[in-house]
């Protein structure tokens, strides 16, 4: 506004004096330079550079990789969180999330514990090829599968399947390291006795600590195992826990485990708000997933035209994200389970299958955005990345 009008406003002189004082004594904000990034980096670095410092064979099919920082700083994490590691394998750049299995009290390193997945690209690479001194880039710690003292009961019922033990291992280690006032019932399902990761440590902890109860459950009955056999049923939970009203339930494992265990909890009358479930990637076999269009078979392929680039071929059953990665079209990803929206792309035409329950924002649905890690082409597509 022009000076002439301003000067006629009642109180102008006072405001002008205020302004002159501020101009004289105010800060020029130069001290803020780089501060925002610095604060972000202390808690949530966008990327970290890690190095393998030790490899521990846990079972015939699982190893722990001890990761240290190449630049000397590892941000704190909450037990239950994961990091997403980037890999370059046979000219494909991809990422995989792995829960941290070490205790948050251990500030010098993060452990990740990886179990072999049949035909899996990354798990096999990690188990067969990676050696001490190898380096990786990863995301900072993320994920919401953590104990929240505001809403969770101090008695936790943890239900793990296979490599889903890792977040619980971190939680149990923290509880015992710090002497936290929390009780854990860990139900840990595996196919065979030899598959159980951390069996000895868990047995020892449960012997030493009155507040940690370890209930391994083996699917295939065997002579040398005296514990529970079969699956983790409401019956087993009921027999062990007696009462469930003052307990929070945590589940982590493959889709099959959720499909089986969630109805068991429902049967026990556990309200939804008492149950937390970690995301754990797409179902092993998407072709068997409820809602999958039966006419589409493994041998089918689709053409995906990526706007502004050449078209690629995608195999049915591969997520849109992996198909893009295989064709060197990079889309950032973190959770690879549909939960973080990092891999969001817009579908301009054509259809994808999205498993039920993937949390996509209502307005993203309205405008055709999908989370490519949990979207499976079922037609030729045109997309925008």
């Amino acid at each position: 506004m022009n000076e002439k009008i301003l000067k006629q406003l009642e109180g102008y002189e006072t405001v002008k004096a205020d302004m002159e004082t501020a101009e004289k004594y105010g800060a020029d904000f130069n001290s803020e330079k780089g501060k925002v990034l610095e604060y972000i980096h202390r808690l949530h670095p966008a990327t970290m550079r890690l190095k393998v410092s030790r490899i521990i064979q846990e079972t015939p099919s699982a190893k722990t990789f001890r990761l240290v920082s190449q630049d000397g700083y590892l941000p704190p994490f909450q037990a239950g969180q994961y990091i997403s590691i980037i890999f370059d394998i046979s000219e494909i750049r991809t990422s995989r999330p792995f829960s941290i299995s070490s205790s948050p009290t251990q500030t010098g390193y993060y452990d990740i514990t990886v179990r072999r997945v049949e035909n899996g690209l990354v798990s096999n690479y990690l188990l067969d090829t990676v050696k001490n001194g190898d380096t990786f880039e990863s995301s900072g710690p993320c994920g919401t599968f953590v104990f929240n003292p505001i809403i969770h009961d101090s008695t936790m019922v943890c239900i793990a399947g296979g490599s889903g033990i890792t977040p619980f291992m971190s939680m149990i280690r923290e509880i015992t390291d710090c002497g936290l006032d929390r009780t854990v019932y860990l139900f840990y399902g595996n196919r065979e006795l030899k598959d159980i990761i951390f069996h000895e440590e868990l047995t020892r902890i449960s012997n030493d600590f009155l507040n940690i109860f370890y209930i391994p459950v083996i699917e295939n009955v065997s002579k040398d195992f005296t514990g529970a056999c079969g699956l983790i049923t409401s019956q087993l939970l009921n027999d062990t826990l007696k009462k469930h009203s003052n307990k929070s339930f945590f589940l982590c494992g493959p889709q099959g485990m959720y499909d089986f265990c969630l109805p068991q909890l429902d049967h026990l009358g556990i309200p939804k708000r008492k149950i937390r479930q970690e995301v754990y990637g797409p179902s092993v076999d998407i072709f068997d997933y409820p809602g999958w269009p039966k006419e589409i078979k493994k041998k089918d392929t689709f053409k995906i035209s990526v706007k502004g680039r050449s078209a690629i071929k995608a195999a049915a059953g591969d997520s849109l994200l992996s198909s893009l990665e295989k064709n060197k079209i990079l889309v950032p990803s973190i959770c690879r389970s549909g939960g973080c929206s990092m891999c969001r792309v817009k579908v301009l035409s054509g259809k994808v299958f999205q498993p039920a329950g993937v949390p996509v924002r209502a307005s993203d649905k309205q405008f055709g955005y999908v989370h490519s890690c949990m979207s499976f082409p079922v037609e030729d597509l045109e997309i925008l990345v």
Binding site: L6, E10, T14, M19, G26, A27, L37, S363
Partner: protein
Amino acid sequence: MKHYDIIVIGAGNGGLTAAATLVNKGKNVLLLERHNIPGGCATSFCRGRFEFEVALHQLSGMGTPAKPGPLRSTLQRLGVLDQLEPIPMEDLFRLIIPGQIDMTLKPDRADIIRTLQKRFPDEKTSIETFFDLTYNFFTQVISVMYLNDPEATPDKYPLYFKYALKSAKEVLDSLFQDPLLKTLLSPYWTYIGLPPSKMAFTELAAMFFAFIEFLPFHLKGGSQTLSNAIADKIIERGGDIRFNCGVKKIIVQDNQVKGVITDTDEVIYTNWIVSNASKVATYIDLIGSEHIPQSVVKELKKSTLTQSAFTVYLGLECKPEAIGMTAATNFLFPHTDMEAVYERMKHREITDQDALVLSCYNLADQSFSPPGTCQVAIVTLKYGDTWLTVPPSQYAAEKYRVADAMIRVAEKAFPNIKNYIEEIEIATPLTHLRYLNHPKGSVYGFEHFIKNSELFIPNISHIKGLYGAGGSYGLCGFQPTLDSGVLTASKLLKDMGA
């Protein structure tokens, strides 16, 4: 060599409407956003079966189709109105001071006056006077400020010249006795971060005028719907948007912008930039001290950063009634001393001496969360410094501790919230800093003292080709920042000769 007519940095409200306006004029535009979604504050995030609204409590300036407000027309011009479902809110707000008052006002001038007069019969005429003044004054503000009447004189606009630089408190004190009544007429100070003694009467009048004349609104699907709609329009009309792509440098030569360098070291050339990043980030981090014009240093010295916010987002496994929630927008104040409440914003702790704003969107839109559930956001303003000193190793524990304290305070008016929590997420000033890239997590730009208003610090271009849009270049709030992008883009187009 990549080149665009115009590059817009940041897809917050201001960046989005700027880009959309430029694309509509046929320009070749690139919009760069650090985050993986558009919107800045105007976003949402999913937890379990809930989609949490990040910022929008009440949208101003929308108006109904029968009586459209300025924002409705802006959105219409941008071509996005059809994709939105704006829902008017039934209540202006409910204000609770435990033990003293619990009153709900409707967004209707006559109704508010009646309700207040009934409760404060001694101040009957002043109540009427206040609303007359507010309306008449703001009508003059529109003529002088928005319509830029070149013949503005004290004779023609006496109210404007008298009240433009007055604080809200001066006006309230001159009319009213009862501190409760004054508090009921000014809870909106928490929407800009300055107590009535420091807040311009203009801002208070603007909010009353906008919310009463054009009603407070909610958007179906939350503010993310608006951001997505504008982003989609930009793409549809041929603009490029890159998400997960921050800018780390603006290239300046001889006081003229030349392009940007992205976080992945890509150089993209342009002679025209609109920055929706905060003014501090734009000049201090992206441009750097060697290129900051003296005029900007002067402006920055006059300015201080607003508070950030501490928010608890709750997904509750119950209906709003179960916790006594009856209005979509609720102010829970400890007492009537707003100066003391403002002081509390300099402390990390949350006690029953803090002011909380609680929003329950389901009361505007039943379908806002799954059947049988509701979503509540509890917010209070806190200066960023209070959180920047927390050691990283204690950050998570501190978050839980303070959030727990906040919920306990809220339970004084809305009992048993805790029994129903299914999902909870906590945002601290550090969360805002991380997602918005604003220094100290400041959510409302620079403190809106009278000396910092657009009257004295207009949003002009200090470096050739560089323009600013958003909360730190003028007013904050949805309507003003959405407007700011449109205005900035128009200025740029004019300077471009387009």
